[in-house]
C-alpha cells in the first residue's frame, strides 16, 4: 500500500491468527454454562441467564473465528497475546450471568471484578449479601475458580482438537512457575494428566467432605456445600458460599480443607510422579522449603495468637493458625476466623505470607516458592563471587543446573512483581483517600498483595468477612488488572505494553 506505507508500521504479530485462536477457545467456554443450568434445574433456580450467556459466548466466539483467518503461524510471540486475551474474554463471558440476573452485580464493573476474581482464583468478592444469591449462581462462581485453577488453556490443550499450534508457548504462559515440566512426550498428554489429577483430587475432597456431612461430624456440610468447597479449594480459589467463609464448619472440616489447600499449593507434576512412584518427591528442594514456610507461618501465627489472647492454648489455636497460614500462603483465601480483627503483628505475618505463594506447577498464585528459593541461591552466589571473583558457580535446583537465562527471568519477575505490588498499593491508598474510604495504608498494601497474588480477602473492610464493594470504580479497575497480571505471572501481559513486542 504505497499511500499509507509512510504512516503504518508493519506489525510483527499475527493479530488475526491470534484472535482466531482466541475465538476458537472462547467458543468452547459456552459448554461450561451447562453445569449451572443443570444445577438450576435441580434446585428450581432460574436457568435463563446461563443459557443466554452460553449463547452469547458461542456466538461471540464463532463470530471472532469467522471474522479472522486462522493462520498456522501461532508462534511464540502470538502466544502472549492469545493467553492474555483469552483470560480477559473468559472473565467477560463468566460475568454475563452476573450482569443478567444478580442485583448485587448489576454494575458491569462489579460483575467483571467478580468474574475476574473467579477465573484468576483470587476469591475477592464484591458481594455484600451472599445468602441472597441463588445456588446456581454461587456454584457458577465456584466453577469459574475451578476452571481457572488448572487453567482454561491447559484444559483446551487437553481436550480440544487441533489446538497444537504453539501449544508449548501457551502452556508456559499459563502454568504457574518459571519452567514447564513435561509429564509426557506430548503437550496434549501432559495437559491431560494434569487435568486428570486435578479432577481426581477434587472428587476426593468432595467425597471426604460429603462423608463428614453424612457421618454427622459436620451438620452443616451438605453435598451442595461439599461441591462448592471442592471446586474452590483445589484451585486455591477461596469463594465460599458462606457469608463467614468456612468459620461455621466443624474443626474436622477445617483440618481437611487445610490438608487439601496445602496439597493444591504443591507442584502437580511432583504429585503425579509421586503417584507413579517415580523419583524421590520428598527430596524436592522446593517442596521442602514450601513445607518449611508453612510450618514457620503456622508457628508464628500460633505464638502471636496466644500472646495476644485471641485464642486459648489448645486445638483451636493450632487449627486457626495452621488454617490461616496455609490458606493465605497457598493464596486460597478461606478464613476460619476473621483474621482482619487479629493483632497487627498477626496480620503483618499474613501479608508476608501472601508474598510467598504456592509452588511452581501448582494452582497457587503469587511469587511461588521456587522463585524465592532460586533468588536466595542467586544472592548467595553473588556474595560468594564478591570474594572469589573468578569462581564459576552454576545454580542448581534438585541437582540440575538452572540456566542463567532462567535465573535472569526469575530475578526480573521478582523485581516487576514487587514493583507492581508497590504501585498497586500506592494507587489503592491514594484512591481510597480520594474516595473517602476507611482504608489505612497497610490495608491498601494488603489489598494490593491479595489481588496481585490471587489470594482474595485483604484486611479492613475488604477482610475475609467483608467485601470489596466499597472500593471506587478506579480502584476496582486497578485490582482487576492486578488479578489478571498475577494469574498470568505478569510477563505475558506486560510484554503487550512494550513497543518491541508489536514491531516486526
Amino acid at each position: 500500500m504505497p499511500g499509507t506505507a509512510g504512516r503504518r508500521v508493519r506489525l510483527g504479530v499475527d493479530v488475526g491468527g491470534s484472535l482466531n485462536l482466541v475465538g476458537r477457545l472462547v467458543k468452547y467456554l459456552s459448554v461450561a454454562f451447562l453445569f449451572p443450568v443443570a444445577v438450576g434445574l435441580g434446585y428450581g433456580d432460574p436457568v435463563w441467564p446461563f443459557l443466554a450467556a452460553s449463547a452469547i459466548t458461542l456466538a461471540f466466539g464463532l463470530a471472532l473465528e469467522r471474522a479472522t483467518s486462522g493462520g498456522e503461524t501461532i508462534g511464540v510471540r502470538e502466544g502472549f497475546l492469545v493467553v492474555t486475551l483469552t483470560w480477559g474474554l473468559a472473565a467477560l463471558a463468566a460475568s454475563i450471568p452476573y450482569m443478567l440476573d444478580e442485583a448485587q452485580l448489576a454494575n458491569p464493573l462489579d460483575a467483571y471484578f467478580e468474574a475476574m476474581s473467579g477465573m484468576t482464583t483470587t476469591g475477592a468478592s464484591v458481594l455484600v449479601d451472599i445468602p441472597a444469591v441463588d445456588r446456581a449462581m454461587l456454584l457458577w462462581r465456584a466453577l469459574t475458580q475451578w476452571l481457572g485453577g488448572m487453567g482454561i488453556i491447559v484444559l483446551g490443550l487437553a481436550v480440544l482438537p487441533r489446538l497444537r499450534v504453539g501449544g508449548r508457548q501457551l502452556l508456559e504462559s499459563e502454568l504457574p512457575g518459571p519452567e514447564y515440566e513435561p509429564l509426557a512426550t506430548s503437550i496434549r498428554e501432559t495437559a491431560r494428566r494434569l487435568w486428570l489429577l486435578y479432577i481426581g483430587l477434587t472428587a476426593l475432597l468432595f467425597l471426604v467432605l460429603c462423608a463428614l456431612g453424612w457421618t454427622g461430624v459436620d451438620e452443616l456440610m451438605s453435598p451442595y456445600q461439599a461441591i462448592a468447597h471442592a471446586f474452590t479449594t483445589l484451585p486455591t480459589g477461596g469463594f465460599s458460599p458462606q457469608t463467614r467463609s468456612v468459620e461455621p464448619f466443624a474443626g474436622a472440616t477445617q483440618w481437611v480443607l487445610t490438608a487439601f489447600m496445602a496439597l493444591a499449593g504443591t507442584n502437580f507434576a511432583l504429585q503425579y510422579r509421586a503417584l507413579r512412584r517415580r523419583g524421590r518427591p520428598l527430596h524436592d528442594e522446593e517442596l521442602r522449603l514450601y513445607v518449611a514456610f508453612l510450618l514457620i507461618g503456622t508457628l508464628l501465627l500460633f505464638l502471636e495468637l496466644l500472646r495476644a489472647d485471641v485464642f486459648q492454648a489448645g486445638e483451636a489455636a493450632v487449627r486457626h493458625a495452621a488454617f490461616q497460614a496455609v490458606s493465605i500462603m497457598t493464596t486460597t483465601g478461606y478464613a476460619s476466623a476473621d483474621f482482619a480483627q487479629w493483632t497487627g503483628l498477626a496480620t503483618f505475618a499474613l501479608v508476608a505470607l501472601m508474598l510467598i505463594g504456592g509452588s511452581a506447577g501448582s494452582t497457587g498464585g503469587s511469587v511461588k516458592v521456587v522463585r524465592h528459593l532460586l533468588i536466595g541461591k542467586l544472592l548467595l552466589r553473588e556474595l560468594d563471587q564478591t570474594v572469589h571473583r573468578e569462581a564459576v558457580v552454576p545454580v542448581r535446583l534438585n541437582g540440575r543446573v538452572v540456566e542463567e537465562r532462567t535465573l535472569r527471568a526469575i530475578l526480573a519477575f521478582g523485581v516487576i512483581y514487587v514493583g507492581l505490588f508497590i504501585v498497586g498499593a500506592f494507587v489503592l491508598a491514594i484512591e481510597g483517600a480520594r474516595a473517602g474510604l476507611e482504608l489505612t495504608p497497610f490495608e491498601a498494601i494488603a489489598a494490593s498483595a491479595a489481588t496481585l497474588g490471587n489470594v482474595g480477602p485483604a484486611l479492613g473492610f475488604a477482610g475475609p468477612m467483608g467485601s470489596f464493594e466499597p472500593f471506587s470504580p478506579l480502584a476496582k479497575g486497578v485490582m482487576i488488572l492486578l488479578m489478571w497480571a498475577g494469574r498470568l505471572e505478569i510477563i505475558p501481559l506486560a510484554v503487550l505494553f512494550t513497543r518491541r513486542y508489536w514491531r516486526a
Binding site: 564459576v392 558457580v393 541437582g399
Partner: protein, 442 residues
C-alpha cells in the same frame, strides 16, 4: 600370541614396542606414514585401512587372532572395532581404548560386550591419584544393581603397617559389609585365609558394599585423604577425570580453566569441584585464592609449554607438589629436569595398562578372565543344595569364597553365623578349577 592392534598413534606405538619381541603383531591404521615408521623399526605386519571396517579386519586376519587391541584416538572407531571383533573372532580377547569415561561405565555395567575397556583419562587420573598418595580404587565389577562392588585397591608401597595392613586377616580391622577376595603380591595370587595379611605394595581385591568401598579407600590412604587440597589447572577431558577421581577419594579439589564456556561446562559436570575462570597465572588470583597453600597442583592444560611454565611458577609460589601431564614423550625428561615433581604421559599410561592386560590378564582384571584361573560367579542357590542351613563358619575354606548374597532385593555380606537359603543369589569368587564343584554343591 597373535595380536591385532588398531591404531598406530602414541598408544599403539608404545604397545608395539612392548609386545613385538614376544608376539606376532598386525597393526592397522589409516595413515600409511605412521605405519611406515613402525614397519621399519619393528618386525610386524602392517595394513592400511579403517579399523571399523569388517573387510579390513578380515583382511588383517582377525579370525586367527588371540587378542585385539583397538586404540585409535577415536572412541567410536574403537568400539565398533571391538564389537566386530567379538563377532568375527569369538575366541579372541578384545581391548578397547576410550577417552570417554561414560563408555567405561557402560562396559562395567556389562552393556558393552568387550573384554576390557581402558580410558586414557581415567588411567591418567588413577596414576595421578596414586602419585599423590590417595589410593586408586578401581571399580572393576558391579553386581546386584550396584549394591555389591568388586573393587581393586593398590596399597601404597610406603604405607605404614597398622590395624588393617600388615596384620593377619583374622585379627585385622576390616570395614563391615566387605570381604577380602584376593591379595595379589608380585604377580602371585594369594587365597586370603585367616593367616594371610595385606602388605604394603599389594593389590587387594575386595567384594563389598559401596559404603565399605569408601571405608577401604579411607583405610588404605592412611586416613590422609580428607586433608588433601589439590588444584587442577585445565578443564579438558583429562583435567575433569583427574578432578573427578580426586574428589571421589575425598580430596578438596579446585579447578582453574581459562575458557569461560568450558569453565561453565566443568562446573556443571562436577558439582563438588570449585571451578575458577582464570588463567591461574595472575599473581593477584594466586594470592587471593591462596593457591600457594595447596598441597598439590596438577597441570592438564593442552600445551606442554604452558604446563611447564605454570608448574614452575606455582612451585615458586609455594605449592609443595607439582604433577604435569605431558603430550610429547620427550617432555617427561624436560619437566623432571625443570623441577616438576612428576610428569605423566597419558598415552604411555594407557599403553602400559593395555600391555599389562595383554601380558597377564589375571593380575589386572580378575573377573574378566574367562577360562583362566579365577571366575566370578553369580548363581542362584538351588533348593536342594547341600550347603543350605549350615552357618558360614562351618563351610570348608577352599579356593572359593562367597562374597555376598542377594536375598530379595537386599545385599548381605555374610558373617560366620549367617546361612544360605534357597533362592539366594550368591556372588562367588572362585578358582576356575573349582568352578564346576561350586556349581554342583550350590
Amino acid at each position: 600370541m597373535r595380536i591385532l592392534v588398531i591404531g598406530a598413534g602414541q598408544v599403539g606405538t608404545t604397545i608395539v614396542e612392548a609386545l613385538h619381541a614376544d608376539h606376532s603383531l598386525v597393526v592397522v591404521d589409516t595413515d600409511p606414514d605412521r605405519l611406515g615408521v613402525l614397519a621399519y623399526r619393528y618386525d610386524i605386519m602392517t595394513l592400511e585401512g579403517n579399523g571399523a571396517s569388517r573387510r579390513v579386519l578380515r583382511e588383517a586376519g582377525i579370525v586367527d587372532c588371540d587378542l585385539v587391541i583397538a586404540c585409535t584416538s577415536r572412541d567410536e572407531v574403537n568400539i565398533v572395532c571391538g564389537i566386530l571383533a567379538e563377532k568375527l573372532a569369538p575366541k579372541a580377547r578384545t581391548i578397547v581404548r576410550t577417552r570417554n569415561v561414560e563408555y567405561l561405565e557402560v562396559w562395567l555395567e556389562r552393556q558393552l560386550d568387550v573384554d576390557f575397556v581402558v580410558s586414557s583419562e581415567l588411567e591418567t587420573a588413577n596414576a595421578i591419584a596414586r602419585v599423590i598418595g590417595l589410593p586408586a580404587a578401581r571399580q572393576t565389577e558391579v553386581f546386584a544393581e550396584g549394591q555389591v562392588l568388586m573393587v581393586e585397591f593398590d596399597v601404597a608401597p610406603g604405607m605404614s603397617v597398622g590395624e588393617t595392613v600388615g596384620r593377619e586377616l583374622r585379627e585385622a580391622v576390616i570395614p563391615p559389609d566387605s570381604k577380602v577376595a584376593s591379595i595379589i603380591r608380585g604377580g602371585r595370587v594369594l587365597v586370603p585365609r585367616g593367616d594371610a595379611s595385606i602388605q604394603p605394595g599389594d593389590r587387594v581385591i575386595v567384594i563389598c558394599s559401596p559404603d565399605a568401598a569408601r571405608a577401604w579407600g579411607h583405610i588404605l590412604s592412611g586416613g590422609r585423604s580428607r586433608a588433601a587440597d589439590v588444584v587442577v589447572f585445565g578443564g579438558g577431558a583429562t583435567g575433569v577425570a583427574v578432578a573427578g577421581v580426586l574428589l571421589e577419594q575425598g580430596a578438596r579439589v579446585r579447578l582453574v580453566e581459562s575458557d569461560a564456556d568450558r569453565a561453565r561446562v566443568v562446573a556443571e559436570e562436577l558439582p563438588g569441584v570449585r571451578v575458577f575462570h582464570a588463567t591461574g597465572l595472575e599473581a593477584d588470583f594466586i594470592e587471593r585464592e591462596r593457591i600457594g597453600g595447596a598441597e598439590a597442583a596438577i597441570f592438564t592444560m593442552r600445551s606442554d609449554e604452558r604446563n611447564l611454565y605454570a608448574a614452575t611458577l606455582l612451585k615458586l609460589r609455594g605449592v609443595r607438589f607439582t604433577i604435569a601431564i605431558v603430550d610429547d614423550p620427550a617432555s617427561v625428561e624436560v619437566f623432571e629436569r625443570a623441577g616438576v615433581d612428576v610428569a605423566v604421559n597419558p598415552r604411555i599410561v594407557t599403553a602400559e595398562e593395555i600391555v599389562r592386560f595383554a601380558h597377564d590378564p589375571r593380575i589386572r582384571q580378575l573377573s574378566m578372565v574367562e577360562g583362566d584361573r579365577f571366575e566370578i560367579l553369580d548363581i542362584v542357590v538351588r533348593a536342594d543344595s547341600e550347603l543350605l542351613g549350615k552357618p558360614f563358619r562351618d563351610l570348608p575354606m577352599t579356593g572359593s569364597l562367597i562374597g555376598a548374597i542377594i536375598r530379595g532385593e537386599q545385599a548381605i555380606f555374610p558373617h560366620g553365623e549367617d546361612m544360605l537359603q534357597p533362592g539366594d543369589r550368591a556372588i562367588i569368587f572362585t578358582e576356575s578349577a573349582r568352578m564346576h564343584q561350586v556349581e554342583r554343591v550350590l
